[in-house]
């Protein structure tokens, strides 16, 4: 009796994983390595093999992109009512829930599914507990490819996260097999075993195919804001998980000629809760775009399911802020009751951050919240709060900064209590260098690579590496 025939331990071997990565993506990752700690980032992105215009055309044919940009007039008015005179930027929202499958992840799934189809693969496999699973399943349905989604779904007591159950339902609605696992780091072993057994294409979130598809989102934002407001956006707030959303949006804005826009990453604070913990699994109300993913992926993007992650968020991010779980639920309620659109909740992380950020900016500025996601059973702020209460988590009203992730969720009574807490990105950039450099003496090409990876000047790279004795 088994769901996976192979011995899973075999897939912990890096050589086995490298070969499977080559077979399941068509990318020779080993050939992109060097010199030293460096790798050919532009060469990896070029593997996507499609221009922005070609991807946009593909997405049009696959019911993706061209989403509306809504001005949030009542939320903007609320922000101005609590801002200093002359402050309170206009907040606009890119309604990505309008994509097939209900989130921006459809942009990420479009190209991998098309590549798999063109190259004659029978199917596609992805490991994801989030919207990306439904996106891959939906895109695969459009071209008749078979699809398997592997999810980390329940803890050792069989208790499932309601939001993840909803994603499983959606995947099955689009005709995908859903393999649901208990909590643990073996998710990636199972993924590799499935790739090996089926010979399917890898729908990893971190291939150049999956990251390139987001560039249309940044490009659309640049064009739409300029058309409507006669200026570039001043800031774009991006929810940060594995980094693909951020990189794709930043590169797309750049291609639209809006390269000067401040890119602000936002994540939900779940400090103290471990990603690998069975105990903590159901004690967080968000399954992505939280600090449990966002911070480790900033420090080490290559902790992904492939040898190299095509998304390198530190190359693009200007600021990184965190918000509390209760603040995102508040923003979700505002969006429904003031703007009349029910979205999220997890997709409203950037909106929760945008409210205090816009409050501090001049009123002639434009702040873009670059995503929404569909709402459904389980994927809902009431469902998440009910689930939290069942885990013994206290829900109360007050100052959200007083909440303790895993113990309490505090809903702010009004918008003036929302904060976007700044994270020291310089420290994160230096930690990145120390991790990569280890004890080695860096050659000039390696210093140049790390400077590009972190946006630190060369001398700061050397100083940070020197801190590790290198």
């Amino acid at each position: 009796m088994t769901l996976v025939a192979a011995d899973l331990r075999r897939y912990a071997d890096p050589a086995v994983r490298l070969e499977l990565a080559r077979r399941s993506t068509g990318i020779d990752y080993a050939a992109l390595e060097g010199p030293g700690v460096a790798f050919d980032f532009d060469g990896l992105l070029a593997q996507a093999g499609a221009s922005l215009a070609e991807i946009a055309d593909l997405q049009r044919r696959r019911k993706v992109g061209g989403t509306p940009l809504h001005e949030l007039t009542r939320i903007t008015a609320l922000v101005r009512s609590i801002a200093e005179p002359g402050h309170g930027a206009t907040i606009v929202l890119k309604d990505e829930a309008a994509n097939a499958s209900g989130s921006f992840k459809a942009r990420r799934a479009s190209l991998p599914v098309e590549v798999a189809r063109q190259r004659g693969y029978d199917g596609i496999v992805a490991a994801t507990s989030g919207n990306y699973g439904a996106a891959v399943a939906s895109q695969a349905a459009m071209v008749g490819l078979r699809c398997i989604i592997v999810q980390e779904t329940f803890d050792s007591h069989g208790r499932a996260q309601p939001e993840i159950l909803e994603k499983a339902r959606a995947c099955e609605a689009y005709g995908a097999e859903v393999l649901q696992l208990s909590v643990g780091p073996e998710l990636f072993l199972v993924l590799n075993a499935l790739l090996d057994e089926t010979g399917f294409f890898s729908g990893s979130l971190f291939t150049p195919y999956a990251v390139a598809g987001v560039e249309t989102l940044g490009h659309e934002i640049g064009v739409q804001v300029r058309t409507r407001y006669g200026r570039d956006p001043d800031a774009v707030v991006v929810s940060q998980g594995g980094g693909g959303n951020l990189q794709g949006t930043a590169r797309g804005l750049h291609r639209a000629g809006a390269g000067g826009v401040e890119i602000i990453a936002a994540a939900v604070n779940i400090a103290g809760l471990s990603m690998a913990s069975d105990h903590d699994f159901n004690r967080k109300s968000f399954t992505t775009s939280h600090t449990g993913f966002a911070v480790p992926y900033l420090r080490n993007p290559d902790r992904a399911d492939l040898p190299r992650n095509a998304a390198r968020p530190l190359r693009h991010v200007d600021r990184f802020v965190t918000v509390e779980q209760g603040e995102v639920f508040f923003a979700t309620e505002l969006l429904a009751q003031l703007e009349g659109i029910e979205r999220g909740p997890a997709g409203n992380t950037a909106l929760a951050a945008a409210i205090p950020l816009a409050r501090a900016l001049p009123s002639d500025h434009v702040v873009v919240v670059q995503e929404t996601e569909y709402t459904g059973a389980g994927k809902h702020h009431h469902a998440q709060l009910a689930h939290a209460r069942e885990q013994g988590i206290e829900v109360r009203t007050g100052d959200p900064s007083g909440g303790v992730p895993g113990r309490s969720i505090v809903l702010p009574p009004d918008a003036s209590l929302l904060r976007a807490v700044e994270v020291d990105l310089t420290g994160v950039r230096e930690q990145f260098v120390r991790r990569v450099a280890g004890d080695r003496a860096l050659r000039d090409e390696e210093v140049a690579f790390l400077a590009a990876e972190t946006r630190l000047p060369g001398e700061r790279v050397l100083a940070a590496a020197g801190g590790s004795g290198g």
Binding site: L8, P162, A276, L334, Q337, G378
Partner: protein, 101 residues
């Protein structure tokens, strides 16, 4: 998740099966919280032949794969919901839109 019904289900029934993929104690010690517990998988599909709840069962999944496990749920349902309405949330939404309850 097990259903109490003990009767056999015919071939072609939509079911959920489960299986242990790794025993507790075989799992990486780098994740101390899960190392001692089994890694369990669940998947849904159509039964290939007659099967009994709690017993070995082979299914064909939506991806067309034949997988075997223990028949854990007959005719599984997606019963996740919207939870109890959180009055504090509704109250704050109403207050902020200007219509006081």
């Amino acid at each position: 998740m097990d259903e109490a019904r003990g009767g056999a289900v015919p071939a072609g029934t939509w079911v959920e099966i489960d299986a242990t993929l790794m025993e507790g104690g075989q799992r990486p010690v780098s994740a101390p919280d899960t190392a001692a517990t089994p890694l369990v998988g669940r998947v849904r599909g159509f039964t290939v032949s007659e099967a009994r709840p709690g017993e070995p069962c082979e299914v064909v999944t939506l991806a067309g794969r034949r997988l075997s496990g223990r028949l854990s749920v007959t005719a599984p349902r997606h019963d996740h919901g919207f939870g109890r309405t959180e009055p504090q949330l509704v109250g704050l939404g109403l207050r902020l839109r200007g219509a006081r309850p």
